[in-house]
Symmetry: C5
């Protein structure tokens, strides 16, 4: 599960602002750099071995998408930053994977931080990864923590020239990347939603200590989701308002579509939250209902035998003169009386709906 | 019940924006297209067999209302979209029935998404359907998921030329459609309100495990209602503010009336929510009161017999010299003493109000 | 109690907007129309038998207050509407008594909907009635559901020429009517507050199932009060901002005074709500404290007798060689020992503060 | 404790606005009027026997502070109102001591209502008093419900000419009065905070029914404090924004200081509220922990004796052929076995950490 | 732990505004004054013995950082205030360590109050200290309550000329000081987060009375953290908006970075709060689960022995004619029957999952 609690912050304290320190888990061994350069008619795709291979693309008029998987390679990040003239604080944010989603407009380029989410169905856990995008008039640079498959369909669309992407600018490519990430949230929500519904079903029928544990995990995941999704709304909205000259008007309507999606996602996350908020109560009431059931049956059990034992005790007294003891049928009469008392009590309890 | 949890989102991920994919349940077999074309003096009504039959109406000066039941017919939606020059993202929203209510103004036409609600009294469940409206200066196109009866009175009013509708433009027709849907919310709220009040009554008198289940269902329905109703407010408000040239000023006051209705609906939904929020507590306290009652009676029962059994045990001891045992009336004295102790305890417990 | 749940909405659905349908309880048999016409020097007061009697007053320069008790008389409402040139949607709102408080400015007249509250001390229930006001430059028309006494002191002030009312215009009269209603809220709050405080007192000392019932009723009443009072604030505020030419500046300061009162009322309602929110918890803890007390005493009771019964059981065993049984004082020694054990336990439990 | 519930509102209903009616407790017998008139060089101080003695000061260029203790003297209030040309609604607010803190700017004078708080350490109760201030260019009139000591240090500072007060205008004097009241809030918060902390300590160690009572009282006091303090913020802020020509710019910074203090006070009140909100839960869990402890020990107690009693019962059976009964050491063996069983159970329960 | 409850406020009440009174704990014996004076090429560092040593730096064009540890030295504070021409209210705020974080712009200098936090790992307690900054065009004066180590890395960076600090103005130095404090919050959050997570783990597995105590302490610490962090956001934001001419545009982007950090910190604090809010519930349910477990086992224990004791009691009756008693194998048959009943019950309870 993604961390709610910050880790390794201490490493950074006291350093000058702009100093690059990788904060987060190292998810792959070696950074992988992939370049796609295209316009409406041409397409060049290659995997760069060194960062320097990206540099010539900067000044080409074609759209260039540089994708770097693995942000722990501080040297690579720094070189790119220097070549593309990025502000040191941006680089610091890229390698510190505990950012919250945000957007910063630096005039000739825009910097966007997003959270990409995965749902590990085996561990029933949410996983998060930070994706940073920088886009200018003719380039998009994307940083991921590891090699993912979410951008694959987009890459395919570029290769095949499907849709608007080859005909549009870098802003549309940036939009398409953000859209891929946001679309993936729906998948996550669907998976999470199913697990929550299953758990809810289980809660009512068969509450167990583990269910409580699940609720706690869900609660943390919802907290995490909210932290990822709410700033997204603000982010996409400020892109859509189109204050930057980097964004064409025709892309605006697509960004509005993404904005609608983020609101839908927020709505769903809040629904899940509402659903969860009642689950602990249902769990506790289920548990206590079950317990009460047990206690009630046992108590009734005892309540039936206590008078019977008393009667038996009565005839166990050693008084000299106890007429009943002398009767020939006394013993059987006593047994019969006990049976009568016992059965009467059972009937009484049943009628009271206690049994 | 309408889904809080998203389904089938995965089918869509990775597709280019604007690709039509039907998301939702397929509620009728074949799409049904009905056309009403009218002005103050004329009226033409027909059921189209093919989408193409709608096309000629586009350029007629009369008001045309095209109603399509069944949004899963992607081809029909696409053809209409092309002919009426609608943005691909709109078409995508029409066929994806998991939209939240929203309004988008494209200048020469306005696109509105609404949720139409039904209350299935047999299953005690809320049902939802997505209605999309597109209206320009002389046409209204409405998309529904299935053939419904909510627009029937409006259709009748158009046929008979009652009210303002025949004298007004497409904006008034669009208003009338929205008004029909919003008015229907009152019916839903009334039905739901009655069921909630009944359940509340039941809660206090006869709490059962099923009542708890009902509360959970209500809670989800309220969550769903809020998701449908809150955006409605914003939607109607932005229509009413009259920023679009498509909306005549005289229609504005009618939209304000709808706006008042949506606020009233929101108020009522929030009241229901407040009522529900306390119901779980009442349920739990009812259950625990009942349980306590049982336990108390049983414990008192035991408490009366325990001393009696002790006395019986006393005279069951085998000591050689126990003077009472030799007495002729010993046994009856013991019985009497026991009766005295038992009755005293009953009186004592009664006086303490425990029994 | 006023309804939180909407009723009879179904009757209205599908009708053209502006169609008059009375929604609500019919509270009096026949509508009663009272007219007061005055200026600083003159006063004419009469009870009209037909609606038409009001009509001549419209064009008189004097201030006319037409008060109609009984909004179910649709014909009368419609006639007045036609004569005073009121918008059909206003008439619809007047006869539908489930409106929320609101204000609508139509330029040459202002329409205000308010809730008048009564506290039925016998049934301990809040009652609500809808009051609609329409005022122009020289007339005020007020609609009530039944004949009430709240406007009586105002009527008296007009008759006697006390205060500013005879010297001021229709706006001041409208203010005075609103002020009467708002002032009455204080009385309601005082009555309700006393009942809540009494209940709270009872809760701590003597919690009963009925108290729980009372809390639920209070909760609903508070929900209803909030629904009536919050929109009032907005309403009075927009009157006070003085955007309408119908309101003289000198009336503004009086409206500000009403505004202060509505805020005070809201404050008080919110305080009540806070007080109520904790009451269920106090109730539950009181109940469970009482229960625990009972259970504890009974359990201790059992705990004292259990060892005694064991000792008795011990000497009830039939072993051949049990030396104690042969002792002459054995029985009395056993009794003594039991007494010792019992008293020791009582002392022990007392010292532990369990008894 | 100050009332959350309104009282005596009924007396006022139906009166013309501006009619003076004293609402609140009469806290002193006779109104006391004290006048201080000063400028940088002169100082005149006197106690007026009649209201009329204040009148000459109105037209003097020096700063005059008229302090009236006792607002139930309606005649005095009315005379001052007439002489200083105050709006009748202001006078109404002064004598109705259930106002919420507010500020009204009448152009040539400003009217301020505040709540002065006392903490009665003996009764552990919060007491409130309404203070009304009216200040113009050269006078400040303050109304209090009774003779207090909070303004005494300020009076002393004026007499001795310490600080800025003698050199500044009426606005600074008004500021100094408000500052005295706000400063006093800190004292109240400190006292209240200590009592709350003590109670919290007690809760965890020794929960009693009275503690529950204290929590309820605190809760009401916090509700009251919030009602007094939140509007204060708005009030001081609108003074500080300096929109009135009556307030010199140099006083602005002092008002900002007061504003900071009110925010600090609000912060602290909210902290107290958060602390309180958990206290009921802690109380309930403490109570139930204690109860559970008792029940557990008693149940274990029973659980140990039940098997022993069974064994004794076994050898109390009257079968003809029970070999053990004939053994010489049978009785002692049985006693030993019982001891063994009892001790084993004790050890077992201890190991399970139940005992 | 820092105080939520105010202390020693009383000392201040009634004094003229601007009077210096030290409010707070005296954390070091003697104030310590350190001066660093630098520009891009020069550096002078010294520890001043008297306040007067600082004065000459005021008029030097170089950047001067005067750091005073120990605000209880009122005389020193006053002298500096007089020399640097600071407003008396600022001095009052510096020596009163119960300020909330705030910013005040006095035109030629800006005054900032912050809370520096420490986490005492031994006592598991949060400690707070007030830091006041005043910066003008060429000087920064910082006041701390005691000698801390948080500014040490910054001091080192100035000495070594690393980073931008030596090349920038007083605004950058002020930024760097604020940044040091904010960065340190991350460390605190990390430490606190770990302790909270540990406690949460413990809660589920081994709830104890002390855990409850910890939750209460955490809750207070979170309340305190929120009080320190939320105003920080506003503070940094108003610095960043760059309305003051004292702040260079190039520093703006660094302030935005600090702003992002404060939002991240707020996010994390709110996450912790959400986590905590559920912990008490989990604790209570853990406790009650454990208790229930014990009670259940014991009750079942009793339920098994009660019928057995009854059977034994049966054959302890003294009836003359009880055929079973005469049977040779009667005793053993009875024992066998008891064993059968006991084992059956155990199996039954196991099957019901009660055992």
């Amino acid at each position: 599960m993604p961390r709610l609690v910050m880790k390794r912050a201490q490493r950074k304290v006291g350093l000058a602002p702009g100093t690059l320190v990788h904060v987060g888990e190292k998810k792959i061994e070696k950074a992988r750099i992939r370049i796609i350069d295209y316009n409406e008619t041409q397409l060049e795709e290659k995997e760069a071995k060194t960062v320097e291979e990206c540099f010539p693309f900067k000044d080409k008029p074609t759209i260039t998408w540089i994708n770097i998987d693995g942000v722990h390679d501080l040297e690579a990040v720094e070189k790119i930053g220097k070549h593309f003239d990025l502000h040191p604080l941006i680089l610091e944010d890229i390698v510190n994977t505990q950012q919250r989603p945000k957007l910063e407009d630096f005039g000739n380029y825009i910097f966007v931080v997003l959270k990409m989410l995965y749902y590990d169905e085996e561990k029933n856990e949410l996983e998060a990864e930070q994706v940073s995008l920088i886009f200018g008039s003719n380039f998009v640079i994307s940083f991921q923590e590891r090699v993912g498959h979410i951008f694959e369909p987009l890459r395919e669309r570029i290769r095949k020239g499907k849709g608007r992407v080859r005909k549009s600018g870098a802003d549309y490519l940036a939009y398409a990347l953000i859209d891929s990430i946001v679309d993936n949230y729906f998948v996550i929500l669907e998976q999470l939603g199913e697990v929550i519904e299953d758990t809810e079903q289980e809660l009512a029928t068969n509450p167990a200590q583990e269910t409580l544990q699940s609720i706690r995990v869900f609660k943390k995941e919802i907290i995490f989701l909210r932290k990822s999704v709410w700033p997204l709304r603000e982010l996409v909205n400020s892109l859509e308002r189109g204050e930057s000259s980097l964004i064409n008007e025709s892309t605006g309507i697509y960004l509005r579509d993404v904005f609608d999606h983020t609101i839908q996602i927020i709505d769903t996350v809040e629904s899940y939250r509402d659903m969860l908020s009642g689950m602990l109560d249902v769990y506790l009431s289920s548990i206590s209902n079950k317990m009460n059931e047990v206690m009630k049956v046992l108590t009734i059990f005892a309540a039936i035998f206590i008078p019977l034992t008393f009667i038996a005790g009565l005839y166990g007294m050693n008084f000299k003169f106890m007429p009943e003891l002398e009767w020939y049928w006394g013993y059987f009469a006593a047994l019969g009386f006990m049976a009568f008392v016992g059965i009467s009590l059972v009937i009484y309890f049943r009628r009271k709906k206690w049994l």
